[in-house]
Symmetry: C2
Subunit: 510 residues, 2 copies
């Protein structure tokens, strides 16, 4: 019998009609039944007369399946066994402890992601380099777009289009008209009822490559940076697109759904459109992957029940406020970019980016990295142009990415699962273990941010002894500062970006 890992991808391919428009004229779906679940999943047409249905088993053991399609006289039946997951496979990421995340097997997941909007639309060579850079940095989430992107530094053609047809001639773009969020500039000839399966197969390769590196694929399903009209499709075209994507992508365990990047500047869409897309996900994704939506100016209502976590373009400091307001995990997916481009969101220093990482972390949220350094020219799809991590991936030139693993290590070493923001006095942020009662007082991180004191003055209470460590978040060092209780004064180096880490040592800690 065929075997697939628990949380692996099981796929059945069926031959069917290729005449007419198989994307709209035929329907295929499967039912997958094991001892602990029965899952119905829709399939999709993959070109060349091949239809596929995919399934991700959530349990180990024997499964039976039955594939039905309008063009099948008899259902296709079969069986397979879901075996124990291999080493790096912990299942999909879920919300855990209300404000945090864990893989389905219970392993805590501390999200520190980055963004390469269209790394997947570049050449194979560039994609390989991006994967190496991601692995070197230790990021565990990547935001990127299913659809191609039209924006500064990104006016070239993508490697493929999602639909059959031909794009406009981009050489007609001028400095006056290239960037105005108008979508279709004319001259595009796409049939938005006929997908280009190769476009999607390639994205799946990218999702799998990330999965191999332990990186969650935060798929941006729609975005406004468009010259082809993909941001202005009709309701029927949208419905087709969303259903097709769910049928193709949902069985990959490392997928997250980001309904949009900057949804509020997709001028052709209304709130009811977004709620409709969410409804497709809720009804059609059998695995309930994480779902959120990202904004430019006008934030979405994160209290909507389908939204699993806040996905913010906001200052680092707001993490704790959003926890309070929405009672969900808070991911700061965009806090500006380390870089040197003119766009005002794209030119902070490495120090400032790392400061934002830590501000978010001690306020109980999860930070997102980004980089936009200019001046690193390379051959990109045959054209000399700038290659920026933020858009194309490839290489990291900044300083902040080097500090990601250290942050993750400190988060993992902290007792319990996740950080819970404590009192915040004049920008000194302090965190305790999530879910711990205040009287437990087992551990604290005190983050000094831009402050450069020569000593830290701490008082948790009069009696509890703490092992104190001085953590330099920029130089990535940890120094023992001894055991203290009561009100204690810890010598500090008069530099920025320091943390005091306190760990209770009287045997009363949980």
């Amino acid at each position: 019998m065929k075997q697939v890992e628990r949380w692996g991808l099981f796929e059945i391919a069926v031959k069917g009609p290729s005449a007419g428009n198989p994307f709209t004229e035929h329907h295929i779906e499967g039912a997958f039944t094991g001892a602990q679940e029965t899952v119905r999943a829709e399939g999709f047409y993959d070109g060349d007369g091949v239809y596929r249905v995919r399934f991700m088993p959530s349990f180990e053991g024997e499964y039976r399946y039955e594939i039905a399609a309008d063009f099948l006289v008899e259902p296709v039946n079969g069986a397979f066994t879901a075996v124990a997951p291999s080493g790096g496979n912990h299942g999909p990421v879920r919300v855990a402890k209300q404000y945090h995340f864990a893989y389905e097997d219970g392993t805590p997941y501390y999200s520190v992601g980055t963004t390469c909007y269209v790394w997947n639309h570049q050449s194979d060579v560039l994609i390989e380099e991006t994967l190496k850079s991601l692995e070197a940095a230790g990021f565990n989430k990547l935001r990127f777009c299913v659809l191609p992107k039209h924006f500064d530094y990104n006016l070239h053609e993508p490697r493929s289009y999602p639909y059959e047809g031909t794009p406009m001639d981009s050489s007609v773009l001028t400095d006056d008209n290239y960037y105005d969020y108008t979508g279709d500039r004319g001259g595009n000839r796409f049939d938005k009822t006929r997908f280009n399966p190769e476009h999607f197969r390639h994205i799946e390769k990218c999702i799998l490559a990330l999965q191999g590196l332990g990186i969650e694929a935060d798929l941006i399903m729609m975005h406004p940076y468009d010259r082809w009209g993909f941001s202005q499709m009709s309701h029927a075209e949208d419905a087709l697109y969303w259903n097709y994507c769910v049928a193709r992508f949902a069985a990959y365990r490392n997928v997250w759904w980001s309904l949009a990047n900057e949804y509020d500047i997709l001028k052709a869409k209304t709130l009811s459109d977004w709620e409709f897309y969410a409804d497709v996900l809720v009804k059609k994704d059998p695995y309930r992957h994480l779902r959120s939506i990202h904004h430019c100016i006008y934030q979405y209502d994160y209290s909507r029940p389908w939204i699993t976590h806040c996905s913010l373009q906001r200052p680092a400091q707001v993490a704790a406020d959003y926890r309070t307001q929405f009672g969900k995990p808070v991911v700061l997916d965009e806090m500006s970019y380390e870089g040197d481009i003119p766009w005002p969101w794209g030119n902070i220093t490495g120090e400032e980016m790392v400061r934002r990482f830590w501000e978010v972390a001690v306020r109980g949220g999860y930070p997102g990295h980004g980089e936009t350094y200019l001046g690193h020219r390379a051959d990109l799809n045959g054209r000399e142009t700038d290659v920026l991590w933020w858009s194309h991936g490839r290489k990291l030139y900044g300083e902040s990415w080097k500090r990601v693993r250290f942050l993750l290590d400190v988060m993992k070493q902290f007792p319990g699962h996740g950080l819970q923001p404590q009192r915040d006095m004049f920008n000194v942020s302090m965190a305790a273990p999530e879910g711990e009662f205040a009287e437990a007082k087992s551990a604290y991180l005190i983050y000094y941010g831009i402050m450069q004191p020569r000593e830290g003055v701490v008082e948790i209470d009069r009696a509890t002894p703490y092992r104190v460590e001085l953590v330099d978040t920029w130089n990535m060092t940890v120094e023992d500062a001894g055991i203290h209780k009561g009100r204690f004064h810890i010598p500090m180096p008069g530099r920025q970006y320091m943390v005091l880490r306190l760990t209770r040592v009287d045997g009363q800690e949980r």
Copy 2:
């Protein structure tokens, strides 16, 4: 005939009774009449049987005066001439153009102050050093306290007390009780109906010394950092104090009234107390010196008509918001301190302080400097202790004070009088000349703050040509970047803290 400068100080001394309590039992006042004004001013007892009445003429020309007192059988009459002011004398500072300041002779005054809370309560040697440091830096306003201060790094005895009597023994203070805003700790023996005139004479010397350097004396009349009970006096004692201070200080042209530092943590006082003090100032200060009040957490209502300007302990960014809300000048008197002490408001870098200067300036407000570097030990009133600029004055050790003159120069060179905040997009702040209609487009300052772009992209309109200069606010350099119009790209160095200065050059500028 006696002569005094316009806005100089004219004083009449009269012998009177010294028995009993001259501070409460006798009253003296004067009427001063010139061609353009008649002013009534209360006098005060200065000890040793001497009573004084002071007057500041607001016009040139001959004045007659008449001094009356309960102990004088006949009024004392006389005359003097107010002559033209000497070079550095421009009169008191007034609100100008709604959001800005000018001396009474019309000369614009761009406020960039600092704080040395009790420099005046230190030794003569230290005071001399402070004056030299103030002059070197170019500050034009100083905040300091009339009453002595009890706080960290400041537990020693002041050089004098405002009242007759003896203070508590400060050696009984412990780490547990020294700092709890309780005011009188016991053991103090002061008669709060009998002032110590020497205490006030000394402050007047300090006010005059500042006047000689062109520095406004922003007198903090009350504050909570107290172990003697001066923050908890009775209503009658307070009334006596406020009337005495107004009678002594109001005729000094460089005096500003700051009703309190952190009024909201003077636990013994209510809003009606503060309104009462304001009422004394409004009724008794004939010269209508600038009036404000400073807070810790709970801001005073700056819409109160007696308040001439906002005096804030707030982040730099709020300047424009407070302009909009209150329609008054906005002075950011406290934006944390450059330094390295543990207190979380006392340890930012020089770069961050200078950034805050400029953020405030381009948002149409006026910044205040502060410094709290530790580790510079000196003999202070005979005791070895730390001397911090913030409290004692003496020497500046930081980096931000060196950049004050450069900021003042840029403000003075800007067309018109004062900066008016313009659009603020993703933290790029922009200012135009105050009061200018938007269509005039005569000049702009664009401040990039923490951003480090390799080029600035600017578009005011399609047609107007501008001389563009690249201003480095940290290195204090100005480079010509040529004449440009339309949408233009200015190469920038990829460093933080830059300004683009635009000056219209088509002859249409105002």
